[in-house]
């Protein structure tokens, strides 16, 4: 019987160099797995994968050396152990994320719930080529948002609270964009210079800065054969509703304009960044 390698790849089993053995990709969301899932991975690796486990460059876990004949059994044991297989090929891939505001002192947004919501909505969705989401909680960009087809970076839109301020000057000092200045017992914020990093909010010893979380999107990043940073086409956006309108628009644009086998970046380049920007803006205004 002929082996349908394409179907196997779609279901997370990538053909190895060695005959009829596969590297099995697991579903991981936002780089989080539980201790229980790790046990399952460990057990399956020992039983079916010769004890090998590979950590991928995008927070994925793969168990190589799975034999063709064992695939059904492996899938069943994975499922019973609370884990699931991932995907490969032309579709929405693993959604990656840093630990975000829940855990990291630098985080401006809660990355994991967003990663889970993105994964829930798009994971495995069929597209002209692969499509990667990555979410980083702040300007430090540990997760390297701009490498992704759609990158999300957390930021804070900040507001000064005069009544709490003792004019200590810490915020002026920590602002790396020189967006803040003190004069006449007032702190002046140059909104055109602020990059939403939130360092004023994080460092203020008297809670005199309030920060409203938002998402800075970068589009068309690709770090394979072609290397290009994702670009921002929208101002910082707030709330899951706006985010998903923008994300839907980006994916619809990709589906509409890309040729089969063409990544998001060249598709935007070909269709025109103005056309793309308009599509994104219209989606947000809708």
């Amino acid at each position: 019987m002929a082996v349908d390698y394409s179907a196997l790849k779609k279901g997370g089993f990538m053909r190895q160099k060695q005959k009829d053995v596969f590297s099995m990709r697991l579903k991981v969301v936002g780089g989080n797995i539980t201790a229980g899932q790790l046990e399952t991975i460990s057990n399956i690796s020992r039983k079916y994968g010769g004890g090998h486990v590979h950590l991928t460059s995008r927070q994925g876990v793969e168990i190589p050396f799975i034999k063709l004949a064992d695939i059904d059994a492996v899938k069943a044991e994975l499922e019973a152990g609370g884990a699931a297989v991932g995907v490969c090929g032309p579709r929405v891939r693993t959604v990656t994320a840093c630990q975000g505001a829940e855990i990291c002192p630098s985080g401006c947004i809660d990355t994991y719930p967003l990663a889970a919501a993105i994964s829930e909505r798009y994971f495995g969705k069929e597209l002209p080529h692969k499509f990667k989401f990555g979410i980083t909680g702040c300007r430090n960009n540990c997760l390297k948002a701009e490498e992704n087809d759609l990158g999300v970076k957390g930021g804070l839109t900040v507001e000064w609270k005069k009544d709490n301020c003792i004019l200590c000057g810490v915020c002026v000092k920590v602002c790396r964009e020189s967006a803040l200045s003190i004069a006449d017992e007032l702190i002046n914020l140059d909104e055109s210079t602020c990059n939403f990093c939130g360092r004023c909010v994080k460092s203020c010893p008297t809670d005199a800065w309030r920060g409203e979380p938002g998402y800075i999107l970068s589009c068309g990043g690709t770090f394979g054969n072609q290397i290009a940073y994702g670009l921002e086409v929208l101002p910082i956006i707030r709330g899951g509703d706006s985010f998903f309108r923008a994300a839907d628009a980006a994916i619809d644009f990709f589906a509409k304009y890309a040729k089969p086998g063409e990544r998001f970046r060249p598709a935007i380049d070909r269709a025109g960044w103005d056309v793309f920007r308009n599509a994104m803006e219209e989606a947000l205004d809708a």
């Binding site: 003792i166 000092k173 360092r199 994080k202 203020c204």
Partner: protein, 83 residues
Amino acid sequence: MPDYGIDAAVDITSVVCPVTFVKTKVAIEELDDGQILLVRMNDGEPIQNVPRSLKDEGHEILKLIDNKDGTYNLIVRKRESGG
């Protein structure tokens, strides 16, 4: 130097995070409630974190003074523990 009665001073310019805050904490623990500590720190990471950490421990930040030599003096009042 402004009009603060400084009760003690600590210099954390020769250490790095997290020892910066540890040294500061030890210095402030030696004070009585309401007394005032001067902390001399480097530009950069200490400025971003030490004032906020002191605030999170309940102390009151009074002033940050630029010494114009790459260091800063932070003036902090030890919290009243209320008993």
